[in-house]
């Protein structure tokens, strides 16, 4: 446990002293805040059926391919480039603990940015309590649903980012790879949603097999609607945890392969 805490604390410190993290967080939160502001202004004129709070979760979800690489790209890539990964691996610390510690730090920072983003509705609720109530900002189940959704997908996205960082010595390549992989994952989810809709209209043979095997990992869009109204789907949480663990195991395997 102690080595994990040492690595975790050190990585958090490194993220805090890194200027790229602040720049990425500032721009991301600014864009998110501006987007949320315009969304609320036009909310009454749209046919948006989900609670307005879900727009923040959606913004963070779709913004993750841009945000997560800034958090994860230097976790292993910079260490490999500098050569400090070798000195880390000569200490009596298991590579798995190293992966877990660095991922935890990136995930923690992602959660921190999500928490900062959710300060917007809190500020609005404080300044305009009546409007905030009408917009559903006082419904705790909306907060829990959106928060859990971001937690589980944030975990898997940051795991993908750490995996991408292990694959290369170049931070920019790690960032691009992370962006590509997360975007691919989101695209798979979009395809899965389209495929489900198409199958509902026109059932196809073989879709049931896909539904049972891969869909639990790629039906994120469908589940967003449920989570944002406070309906917690435990199987989605379970599948995302499995997926995150799988990516972290892949990362550990790759780290073990690197020097052997």
């Amino acid at each position: 446990m102690r080595p994990f805490i040492v690595i975790f604390k050190h990585e958090i410190f490194c993220l805090f002293i890194s200027s790229s993290t602040y720049i990425a967080s500032f721009y991301f939160l600014t864009l998110l805040g501006v987007g949320f502001h315009f969304f609320l202004q036009s909310f009454a004129y749209t046919d948006w059926i989900l609670p307005p709070l879900s727009s923040l979760a959606i913004g963070l979800f779709f913004g993750a391919p841009a945000l997560v690489p800034f958090l994860t790209m230097r976790s292993f890539a910079e260490e490999r480039k500098l050569g400090t990964l070798e000195t880390l691996l000569t200490t009596p610390i298991a590579p798995e603990i190293l992966v877990l510690g660095k991922w935890s730090a990136c995930f923690f920072f992602f959660i921190k940015i999500c928490v900062l983003a959710f300060i917007y509705p809190i500020i609005l609720l404080f300044l305009y309590p009546e409007q905030g109530f009408n917009l559903g900002f006082t419904s705790i189940h909306y907060w829990i649903g959106c928060g859990l959704y971001l937690l589980i997908y944030g975990a898997s996205f940051t795991a993908i980012g750490v995996f991408a960082s292990i694959m290369t010595k170049n931070q920019m390549v790690a960032g691009m790879l992370s962006f590509t992989l997360i975007t691919l994952y989101i695209s798979l989810m979009a395809l899965s949603t389209s495929a489900k809709k198409a199958n509902d209209e026109n059932p196809k043979a073989g879709y049931d097999f896909f539904e049972q095997s891969l869909a639990p990992f790629t039906n994120g869009f469908d589940k967003l609607e449920q989570f944002s109204v406070g309906f917690i789907n435990l199987s989605t949480i379970f599948h995302q945890i499995i997926f995150t663990i799988f990516i972290l195991i892949l990362s550990s395997v790759q780290l073990n392969r690197l020097n052997k």
């Binding site: 102690r2 040492v6 050190h10 500098l82 400090t84 000195t87 000569t90 200490t91 009596p92 020097n259």
Partner: protein, 330 residues
Amino acid sequence: MKSDIKPLPIVEVLNLKKKYGNIKALKGISFSIGKGEIVGFLGPNGAGKSTTLRILSGLINADSGEAKVCGIDLAEEEGLVKQHIGYLPENNPLPEDLRVIEYLNFRSQLKGLQGSRLKERTKVVLEICDLERKVSERKIGNLSKGFKQRVGIADALLAEPRLVILDEPTIGLDPHQSAITRKMMERLRGEITFLISSHILSEVEACCDRMVILSHGQIVAEGTLQDLQRTFVDKTIFEIVTKGNKIEIQKQIRKIDVTCELILDDLVDITGKRRFAFSTLNGEKSAEKIIRHLFTAKELKVSEFHISRPDLETIFLRATKKNWEEKTIL
């Protein structure tokens, strides 16, 4: 009852092999290092030095063979072995953004130190490596190469390792900084075992008890400097400075040792002093006998006498050249 049990060597390597694809980096090397020794690991580029050091520090696995550190098999208990090793890699990679004290605190915690023990060891290594006062508060990126090297060595010494592996510890350092590194190792001689890989042969000659010379993945020489001199340099060379007659001197020398040959005849100064160099196959004892005889013969007017001991560079070139030639023949 007297115990005949010998202390366990700190490092035991037996028939270690390692391949990178089709390239055989190590072809079955075996050596051991005793407690408190400072051993130099030499060889041309591509000889397998770094591969051996990386195997011993647990970074890579050997393909076959046995490697033990402090009696613990690396293949079975890698984590346990790493607790006994301090490692300074080549080029000494360090994070530039951290301060020296922050970096050493982080490394101490990684190596399992905590609380008062952590503070105590950090203070000790800062003192040993002369990094106290202002240097410890500075960012590593702002330090000179010499100080960065000392930070790397301080890191290697943090957890009181029994074996410290230094890969090119003095490369890029000025003579003053190299001397500080040597002094540091001398200070710890006997307490800690050092395994040093270096191309700077004068440094190795100055501080190492024994040398292991690698070439093409094999050990071509091993032993103290004296052992290596005996093995690789079959002739002893001695010089005399004299005003005496060359023919007479040669005659007197041949009375003691018929294998002596004149290899150098130089004028030293305008007074007529000349420097003669002779080689003998009969070693230093013969050379010493000759000097005693020459000094008793006052008419030869010998004013100086010097036995040349072949340096490590000569031994290195001969040992690795022999290996090169054997490879070519084969």
